[in-house]
């Protein structure tokens, strides 16, 4: 077996362990639901989250496998392992998990509830990469032989890592805001769900008016929407700064390689669109009427654009950034 083949084995092993970790995170969320229900009915013992601890441990193991897969691919190729779609996906998802683990370690809050979201996304992307995007190692085309490949793509991947966590937090923030709005609404009166619920509030307003349902209780173990919003903002802001740098580094490199720093190439267009959406998010967050639910939606839309840029644009759009190798 050569190094690349070992790398592939490591990728699949990482996938298997990520899948186990994902299941453990999901089971933990389910269990938290029941524990909360018990807690709400009077029992006071804090739920022991052994499943979450197992999930984190599995994630770390999978991350180590993932890291070694990426490093081995790089060593086998004799260059940085991010020069085609397969490698972008392997490195990108590695950065997503890395940022997740770093935030888990350093955030003051317990963010393990994000595990199923993050690992679900990683499983999807890394799985698709391993099954559909895999390509044999090829040398770098002249256009990619530059130090900016190392910087530009790596910073972009890291930025996506932060955006992912920010998006996950924003999703949970929306769920929390909805729950809070219902809890705050007088139980007997059927009123439309307040501002926080947003567009899809109508779906469950009848249920909410009857009191707080057990299902929603899973979220009581999770910080309130304001705390989530603040944290989502801090994480997304790091992503935004890295994204700004990605855009500029890309422009400097484009000047060197293509003779112009900006030419509205499809990938440049989408990088710009993402930047503008997140700029809108930053502004929204400091504007009354937009802060909270609406800004959270912007963070989610921004992340959807990131995913679109990474998948659809890379694979189907014509342009100068045609390095997917597919």
């Amino acid at each position: 077996m050569n190094l690349d083949q070992i790398s592939i084995v490591a990728v699949y092993s990482a996938l298997a362990v990520y899948a186990l970790a994902f299941l453990a995170f999901a089971a933990d969320l389910l269990k938290a639901t029941r524990a909360d229900a018990v807690e709400a009915s009077g029992a006071n013992a804090a739920p022991r989250r052994s499943l979450a601890r197992i999930a984190v441990a599995l994630t770390v193991v999978a991350w180590l496998l993932h890291l070694s897969a990426d490093v081995l691919r790089g060593v086998a190729a004799g260059r940085v392992p991010w020069a085609n779609m397969y490698e972008f996906a392997v490195t990108g998802t590695l950065m997503v998990v890395t940022v997740f683990l770093v935030v888990l370690k350093f955030a003051k809050l317990d963010l393990r509830f994000l595990g199923s979201f993050v690992l679900g996304l990683v499983l999807l992307l890394l799985g698709a990469a391993a099954v559909n995007f895999y390509r044999e190692i090829a040398p770098l085309p002249p256009a990619l032989q530059d130090i900016w490949l190392v910087i530009h793509v790596f910073v972009a991947s890291t930025s996506v890592g932060f955006y992912t966590i920010g998006c996950g937090l924003s999703v949970v923030q929306l769920l929390q805001a909805r729950r809070e709005a219902r809890a705050a609404a007088p139980a007997a009166v059927k009123i439309p769900v307040a501002v926080g619920a947003g567009a899809d509030g109508a779906a469950g307003s009848a249920e909410a008016s009857g009191g707080v349902s057990t299902k929603r209780l899973a979220l009581t173990a999770i910080p309130n929407s304001q705390v989530l919003e603040n944290l989502a903002f801090r994480v997304t802001v790091v992503g935004f700064i890295l994204w700004t740098f990605t855009l500029m580094a890309g422009a400097i490199w484009a000047e060197k390689a293509w003779g112009r720093y900006w030419g509205w190439d499809t990938k440049e267009v989408w990088t710009f669109i993402i930047w503008v959406i997140y700029a809108g998010y930053l502004h929204a967050r400091s504007t009354r009427g937009w802060a909270g639910t609406r800004s959270a939606w912007l963070a989610i839309i921004g992340f959807a654009a990131v995913m679109f840029n990474f998948t659809i644009v890379n694979m189907f759009f014509k342009g100068l950034h045609t390095y997917s190798g597919l």
């Binding site: 190692i137 802001v237 967050r285």
Partner: protein, 586 residues
Amino acid sequence: MVSYQPSNNSDASAEPAGADPHRPSDHVDSAAPAERAGEASGAVTQPKLGVIGWLRFAWRQLTSMRTAILLLLLLAIAAVPGSLVPQRSSDPNGVSQYFASNPDTAPIMDKFQLFDVYSSAWFSAVYLLLFISLIGCIVPRTKHHLAAMRARPPKTPARLERLPAYTERMLSDGASIDDELDRAAAYLRRQGYRVDRLGPDAATGSAGSVAAERGYLRETGNLVFHVALVGILAAVAVGGGFGFTGQRVVVTGQSFVNTLAAYDSFNPGRFFSPDTLTPYAVTLRDFDVTYETKNQSALGQPIDFTAHVDVTDQTKVAQPGQIKVNQPLRTHDTDLYLLGNGYAPTITVRDPAGKVVFTDSVPFLPQTANLTSVGVVKVPDGLAKQLGMVGFFYPTQTVLASGAFTSDYPDLVYPVLTLNVYEGDLGINAGAPKSVYALDTTGMTQLTGGKTGVKSLELKPGETAQLPGGRGSVTFENESPSGTNANDLSHSVKRFASLEIHRDPSQGWVLAFAILIMVGLALSLFVPRRRIWVKALAVSQLADAPVLQFAGLARGDDPRLDAAVGAVATKLVGEVHDLPERTLET
């Protein structure tokens, strides 16, 4: 403009009544906006606005944060079609193809400038409105910030314990309140705070206090970020107009002189003057290519292209230089980029008497990764009728199952040139410009290939073929250097480099503004702006001893406010002893 203020910030309550809610909380208007802008919409008697009033109203709407957000989102949406539809600026061939395959819809789309999205009226309108809104926000905020930087820190509030970060410490016996407050002031000053030492105030029970504020750089960074955005736009709009972009194909051994006439295509900026072209010449001495030969899964993939050039001007002898992808040659205020390369077979045409009527290395444009290339040869004079040839060049020829030729390797292993010959009117006598890469065969008779029944001319380097009907001959010259083994054809065909020559005087400015954007952004997001107050109470409610109160207020996102307040308290008085710490969660 962004102050990055969370919506629940308690500072909001400190806003002057009537302030525009879309302004940052530290924004102060010169007059109450509600009166000027006629926002008292619910009022029964509305004051008449008049023209000035409506203009003011429109201006306030445009510069409001809500409008800015909508314009940002609109800008994002407006940018999308340019990635779905081919653009003239980046993909002119794609536009032609689109017109050819959608003859009905394309002209309508063109009316809406969908092939020029980024220079279209509607896209420009969005970003120009956005920038006007931005400037309308920067100016008052800059004024306000300049005033704030000169102002003293805000006075100590009456009830510090209500602030979001709060702690208190009992002073040890015998400690002097004044000394403690002086120490606090000195400590905070060392920490980079602007400090104001205030005396006792009977109304609030204060026995003296310290007011401190830090983090003005946050707003400075914010302003720098936004001003630099305007700077980039200005640099691109104005500076870019003085530059130019030109393309030129140069065959090895040939030269190119930096004059307007020498360019194959030339795109001047709005304010460009041809006098600004520096006279110099570039000779393509040699062109090196390296293709992958070992890795079976990437066989023939390009590894390296290097153009070896000599640069000459009036004063100096030839300066050797090289141009590679990712390594432009910067000389004489211009940048030379290597955008492409290919083969330029040297073709000689002789008349029936054997006299040379045409000889040139003709650039053939690559069509595939393995450099199957297409070129056109035009022989206007010297033969009975004008002659045109459409040629295919295969650096490593192979025959497909269908019988068609193709190339399966980009380098010269088994080079073959095929030519379809046409006779008649080339259409160039009228003086109208014609592309050298296309042959208009209307009014011409095909002599070889296609349906003529005569086989296309098929040549290997060094071979000569007779034109049908004794019209003369065509030779595919072997350009291998003398002394080369006859079987080694690796240098038998000349190569060309497709160069882009480019001057953009604004590029340095754009880079400088880009760096300012990064710096400004980082400052505006990471520098915490906070106010800290230390107040002494001669007698506290909890104990019969003097107490020092410490409180902090964040302006914008500040996760470390509690820690900062706690650190000041601990530094000055030490850890909590008998008083419960009442630091609140943010």
